[in-house]
Symmetry: C4
Amino acid sequence: MFKKVKDPGIGISSDERAKRFINPDGTFNIRHINRRTSFSRSYSYLIGISWLKFFGWVTLGYIVINLIFAVIYVLLGISAITKPTGSYVLDLLNAFFFSAQTITTVGYGAMAPKGLWFGIISSFEALIGLLSFSFVTGLLYGRFSRPKANVRFSSTIIIKEHKGQDSLMFRLMSRTTNVMIRPKIQVTLSLSKESNKKYINEFYNLDLQRSNITYLPTTWTVVHPINKNSPLCQFKRNEIPKLNGEILILVSYYDRSFNQEVHQAHSYVLNNIILDKSFIPAFYYGEEGYTILDHTKLSKLD
Amino acid sequence: MFKKVKDPGIGISSDERAKRFINPDGTFNIRHINRRTSFSRSYSYLIGISWLKFFGWVTLGYIVINLIFAVIYVLLGISAITKPTGSYVLDLLNAFFFSAQTITTVGYGAMAPKGLWFGIISSFEALIGLLSFSFVTGLLYGRFSRPKANVRFSSTIIIKEHKGQDSLMFRLMSRTTNVMIRPKIQVTLSLSKESNKKYINEFYNLDLQRSNITYLPTTWTVVHPINKNSPLCQFKRNEIPKLNGEILILVSYYDRSFNQEVHQAHSYVLNNIILDKSFIPAFYYGEEGYTILDHTKLSKLD
Amino acid sequence: MFKKVKDPGIGISSDERAKRFINPDGTFNIRHINRRTSFSRSYSYLIGISWLKFFGWVTLGYIVINLIFAVIYVLLGISAITKPTGSYVLDLLNAFFFSAQTITTVGYGAMAPKGLWFGIISSFEALIGLLSFSFVTGLLYGRFSRPKANVRFSSTIIIKEHKGQDSLMFRLMSRTTNVMIRPKIQVTLSLSKESNKKYINEFYNLDLQRSNITYLPTTWTVVHPINKNSPLCQFKRNEIPKLNGEILILVSYYDRSFNQEVHQAHSYVLNNIILDKSFIPAFYYGEEGYTILDHTKLSKLD
Amino acid sequence: MFKKVKDPGIGISSDERAKRFINPDGTFNIRHINRRTSFSRSYSYLIGISWLKFFGWVTLGYIVINLIFAVIYVLLGISAITKPTGSYVLDLLNAFFFSAQTITTVGYGAMAPKGLWFGIISSFEALIGLLSFSFVTGLLYGRFSRPKANVRFSSTIIIKEHKGQDSLMFRLMSRTTNVMIRPKIQVTLSLSKESNKKYINEFYNLDLQRSNITYLPTTWTVVHPINKNSPLCQFKRNEIPKLNGEILILVSYYDRSFNQEVHQAHSYVLNNIILDKSFIPAFYYGEEGYTILDHTKLSKLD
């Protein structure tokens, strides 16, 4: 018989306004407040954002730092690096260019610092430049090399007869061309039940037909048979997609490109379950005897 | 019944002057002497210090190296790079700027080396510069990317009735917004007993209500029930905070940002136990249906 | 008795055109189509290719970027950086050299940008240069430091009497001078059987004389005894090399240079089995009392 | 009773010339021949050597590359970068300095390339320079950050009565100030026995009083009791140091600075055993209540 299990750690008693625990992108549905800030957070932030945002921040930072130094150079007297043009804007632009030539260590020399203050400030601007580009080098490397699970889950989850029994199924694959080594999966059902006008969450482990395999080069259809050991057997098949609940998933596998074990969380809400459809195969034999895996078919139903 | 366990490895028979084994920051209370020094220690040191100290050392190093080269250039004759000013200080400053332009590889060229010795020395200063900034690049990356457990422990530890039984409780959470995956905790009690004017340490494992969970997105209240299996059951509840003992904690979890298992040690001294207070919840539901986790409430008691 | 096992995850029902599951280089025989492209893929690609290709791409990229900027500079008017030569080709070359001096941050200054547009573009070219070389730094480090299993398998696989029993044997060693720590091996046989003009794959685990050892400083001859527990005992020894099947191998060990566990897949097709030959020893005692390991003898038979 | 175990993987039948299997530095006593060379080996080599050798190679490489380019520049005609001096040596030196200014990207500009060939060659020298320093950045970071076990073993190994029984003992500690987390140790005895003028190795696991602990902040005395389960009980205590044998050790622990598990091999030859001496404590209580750990006392006997 199915049994309630302890809260896997969610530790949240939801009320009626509660949204899902785990978002489709694998993050948990938590807002943090009053967190102590630290310099390391900028690194985490810059590692986590999209490439577009990343290059946006780098370019913006480059312009802002150069503008700050340009203003300093203009205030100190532009004549120490180049002939004043008479126009404040053109002088500022020249100072900007001198700053850029210093911070990138290009240093053409057509503009070069004269005098004490320009010597000191440009010496430290070059230092700041090198430190900044060291930081960016680390960020770029960190963005690329950070071990990260790359599981793609089907957007669809179905209930369908499979080997004579209603079964809950979803599908997953690697987002990359890497074969997942020894993938393992753990599936927990959370059901939100009303009790005295408060919603209480109950948790159940869902037994799987197979919860681990040796390699995963193509797709894996994860199958939970809705037999008498399943907490879902207490509901009629049509009722299940109307329940207020969530299927919490934790996949781990050994990733061959990082050569270490990686984990990824995911969740489906019960409302998304589609009845009586099947997944169509995502791979087939090509002309030359190779197996062809079509990434666009992961979530396709017939 | 509770049983003494072997020394978990502390390996220290304390006497009456002894302080705690593990400091609140998770380091062990050991001073090392006569340790062989090596170049690698500078890296470990510069990885471990605060950002303020780190940039202080970098700036100091930059000034000192440039000063050394400036003195060399002045001794060799400043006229090989720029017109002598007649003032020793100004010549030294110009040499300093030339050195900075060389070591950062800015090389404006308004000052450029002439002659054999200036050619050789500036060639190697540029090499030293590149090696130094390579080193700093590695340090910066190492500082940011080093896998590190980020557990925050409540500053408070309490004894309170919980489910009809006195229980020892403390609380922990992630310092970051990352969800801790499969956290595990091991708690050992060390009691210091007098025997023939020497203090002997005895060690006991403390059973926990739950010693591992699947995820930890919010806070975890670790509960040790003071039942007949607890070594603390031999004392009256009021006596416990007067004992000379320490609670040694080792937490490990899989960190999603480093994608590897990390460990963190911590300890509480028994004297810090507060009786009959409870932790107030650190999270609540916000307006928009999100769980709000307030980092400042981790150690708050009602 | 030998027993069929579940598909280890290959998940492919082959037909008569099917080639092997795992290639001799350990990759799986899959073609991916319609995979979402991302910037990170260029990193994976540049990490995975040979050194020759890598430096080819770097050089090509360097020439192309400089050409693009050279064309821009010529279109904007070469006179802003150097005297026009009157020849379009020579002007383009000068612009190319100026671009190279900017992107590498050499910036001799004999050519230096004048005016607004040259100032802006050269400022950003220097930024692009530093970002590109940061990227290349990460690639170089990633190429060298990426944890990677370095097992070399014998190209030959034999069946031979060993301790009074026919045994299947192959040999492996470390490609590097590192000793493999705690190597483990798992061997699966796949047999392709015809049924209604379709080929069905059956999988069997092969028992090994030893499936794990403590260290592997030299070579390891992996031995599968073809006794009554072996799925191969149903065939005559001469028939085995004519079967349509594959031996799938997964080796894992703790690598001392990366200090982590690494995995490597490999496979042999049954057609490659050689009968009644033995491996000659790959190591012997040298003059000075050292064991000499000859890497060229791994696959040598007597 | 003690039992022979299988060869832990050494796989070597020694003859009378054989030296020890594992050297005191933890490397195995193997010479590799006919190993395929690859570019990656230079990285492994440069990662593994001492700091002195490393900087030696970097400096040598810098001088050699600059000399090669200097010769090319002189052959192409020094007048394209600076005024010829008339002296071949001085011209070569100037070309060397120009090369150094190019490869480090200092580019003062007092010497700057004119003409087609100088433009092309200097453009690519700057590229080579940046790639080389990227490589050196990776090397420096790799040298510092590579996870590595840092166990120091006592140079001495003793047999002494301990709790009423002769015991084999050696001592180990961390070379760093890091506390070793969950250290584990596995000890194997190899005995070389003569048989028909050939030496045969037999292997035995040695039982330890404790083979794992939770933390190791100070020193760990590893104790093998020579009771009836010990293969050493068949010899008289005075005979043991005269046996031809080796004690093979594999230690693994979780390192807090790398936050991963690391392994280290070590060995003692039986001839080094000292009878009836004890290790003196390596730590004591200091004035201020701290435990003082004296690294020089690890191998000290009374």
